[in-house]
Amino acid sequence: MESNKNFVLGVFDDEEVLLHAVEKVRDKGVKIHEVYSPFPVHGLDEALGYKKTRLPIAAFIFGMTGTSLALIMQIWMLGYDWPMIIGGKNFASLPPFIPVTFELTVLLSALGMVATFMIVSDMKPYRWPQQFDLRSTDDKHIMAIDLATNKIAKDDIGAILKESGAQEVNDKNF
């Protein structure tokens, strides 16, 4: 990450005020870098104009992979590789294979989706996050605005933030 990144931070403590502020700030043409919150705020992703996450699709694909692998494994092992007579039933009969197929579907779907989530969100145990304000995990919502991506002057952004209900407006340089 390049040095000398300058941010303006708006500090909010009410999620309703924050949601309206996000809309107002974006209406004025200010680009928001990201909003950091101590808990999920419903409607914030839409207010920020984020596209819906495609993680459910990932979960479905991983789940289908689990289903196929489980069926292939069981049918191949008991049907072709070493067929055995168990209770006089067909070598590869579907009903008794359903429980294991179901479990592996769930297992791969869950693990695959969570791994995808961790990768796309860049979550690593050794990564120290870019901390704008330590209170953003406690009780404050922090709206970070990157000055490099905005043409509006810093003081004007500060004024817009104040006007839309920010409790404090701070600077943060990395």
Binding site: V41, F117, V120, T137
Partner: protein
């Protein structure tokens, strides 16, 4: 926009603010453990020590150390296994099923209940593992691994093998679900540690939180992951006890061979699980002064679930008896008459008293809102549910097809010791969890505090 009904009691009492939540929950993690905690931990370690001794003796000498005989080949081990797995179910019910039903009261109890699930499943898994005798060969017996017998594969037609897959999937998915919930809360502790200047703690909790930052985009993905995990866990938890019940139901032993087993076992699992959640939470609430987060209202709602599931279990007992009579199979009829009046009558009637009669006391509001009564009844329910499994397993087996093989089961010190082992592990693990991890899901509790603050405006 959140709407809160004025008719409902507030979920979090004491007029807490968002900042208070971080303070109250992180205090446990940051401070030194209390004397009471050390005492409880010490007792758990003593139990664990005794258990490890008996387990080592069993592994060294073989499972002949147990009281099993040719007729009763399954007894305490499988009873304890089913009992522990059942207990785990309440955690998933609270975290997954209640999330899908948007029940907000689950928010201050889900973390501890999920931790309970994970430790209970580990306790459960020890029994079939030890029962394999030569544990170190278990991989080849239980998992489809290529082996030297020309690759003789495991039998996918067997419910015991389904169990291997069900329990390990259940454990893994529950662990992931629990951990995903913990990630934002570890970040709270990390940021507090940075402010306090405690670098070691900051680095450890940052690693645990995977560098969590709490940006809106991450929260959006996070919520989607939590919802899908809940959607996956819901059928998973139902499948686990269904498959456990099939260990019995797919056999031809009178008393086991019934189609009612899957729903009956799932209801029983939730019943005993909620009782264990109450036992643990009432202690945790006292130990860590969480009275404002785990309120009487929470206790009351859990007690209502106990009435519902307890009544389902009661109806299942009566249905089994009725069907045995109605089905006109002499062996089935004998099995049930023998349960109630045979040599194990005391186990049967303990089960009936603890599981069918005692939860009905919760119909009285005074009893279901009393902490002492709830605590006592939660333990009684768990004793009853242990007896349920014992009755199903041992009374069905001890009258074999040949009367000359009829026998009784007497536990040895080693049977008891391995049950004690799991208690030692369970409580030690729970105490460590409660000390080092945030016991209440702070992020979720904070999100419901805001909606109640709307009343002020």
């Amino acid at each position: 926009m959140q709407v809160s009904s004025s008719l409902r009691e507030s979920l979090i009492t004491g007029g807490k603010t968002v900042g208070d939540v971080s303070e109250d929950i992180c205090r446990q993690v940051e401070g030194k453990p209390t004397k009471l905690w050390w005492m409880a931990f010490g007792v758990s370690l003593v139990l664990l020590g005794f258990g490890v001794y008996t387990m080592s003796m069993t592994l060294w000498n073989g499972i002949g150390m147990w009281g099993l005989n040719k007729t009763v080949g399954w007894a305490w081990d499988i009873t304890n296994f089913v009992w522990w797995v059942g207990i785990g179910h309440a955690g998933t019910l609270i975290s997954a099923i209640l999330l899908l039903f948007r029940q907000k009261w689950r928010m201050s109890i889900n973390r501890a209940a999920e931790a309970m699930t994970i430790f209970a499943v580990i306790c459960a898994a020890t029994f079939p593992l030890i029962h394999m005798g030569r544990l170190w060969l278990g991989f080849y017996w239980a998992l489809p691994l290529p082996n030297a017998f020309g690759s003789l594969w495991v039998n996918f037609n067997s419910p015991l093998l389904w169990d291997v897959f069900a329990i390990s999937t259940y454990f893994t998915v529950s662990l992931v679900f629990w951990y995903i919930g913990l990630i934002p809360d570890f970040a709270v502790i990390r940021d507090r540690a940075v402010r306090m200047g405690n670098n070691t703690r900051a680095i450890i909790y940052n690693a645990l939180s995977f560098g969590w930052q709490g940006g809106a985009k991450t929260w959006m993905r996070y919520e989607s992951v939590a919802l899908i995990l809940a959607g996956l866990s819901t059928p998973l938890v139902l499948s686990v006890h269904t498959i456990v019940s099939m260990d019995f139901a797919t056999s031809v032993v009178p008393g086991w061979h019934t189609t009612i087993f899957p729903p009956y076992f799932v209801a029983g699992a939730i019943f005993s699980g909620f009782a264990m959640v109450l036992t643990l939470l009432l202690i945790t609430r006292k130990l860590f002064r969480l009275e404002d987060y785990i309120t009487i209202y929470h206790v009351e709602l859990m007690n209502i679930i106990i009435i519902v599931t307890g009544s389902i279990v009661g109806i299942a007992y009566i249905t089994e008896f009725f069907i045995a009579w109605y089905g006109q199979v002499p062996a089935e009829q004998y099995a049930f008459i023998n349960r109630a009046t045979g040599p194990y009558w005391w186990a049967y009637w303990s089960m009936m008293t603890c599981n069918v009669i005692s939860p009905q006391l919760f119909w009285f509001k005074k009893i279901r809102t009393s902490l002492v009564a709830t605590f006592v009844l939660s333990i009684i329910v768990n004793i009853g549910m242990w007896f349920e499994r014992f009755v199903i397993i041992v009374t069905s087996l001890h009258r074999d097809y040949l009367p000359s093989s009829w026998s009784m089961f007497y536990p040895t010190m080693y049977d008891v010791g391995e049950y004690v082992l799991t208690f030692g592990f369970f409580f030690a693990a729970f105490l460590l969890f409660a000390k080092f991890f945030p016991v209440i899901n702070m992020a979720e509790v904070k999100s419901i505090i805001k909606s109640s603050s709307e009343k002020k405006h």
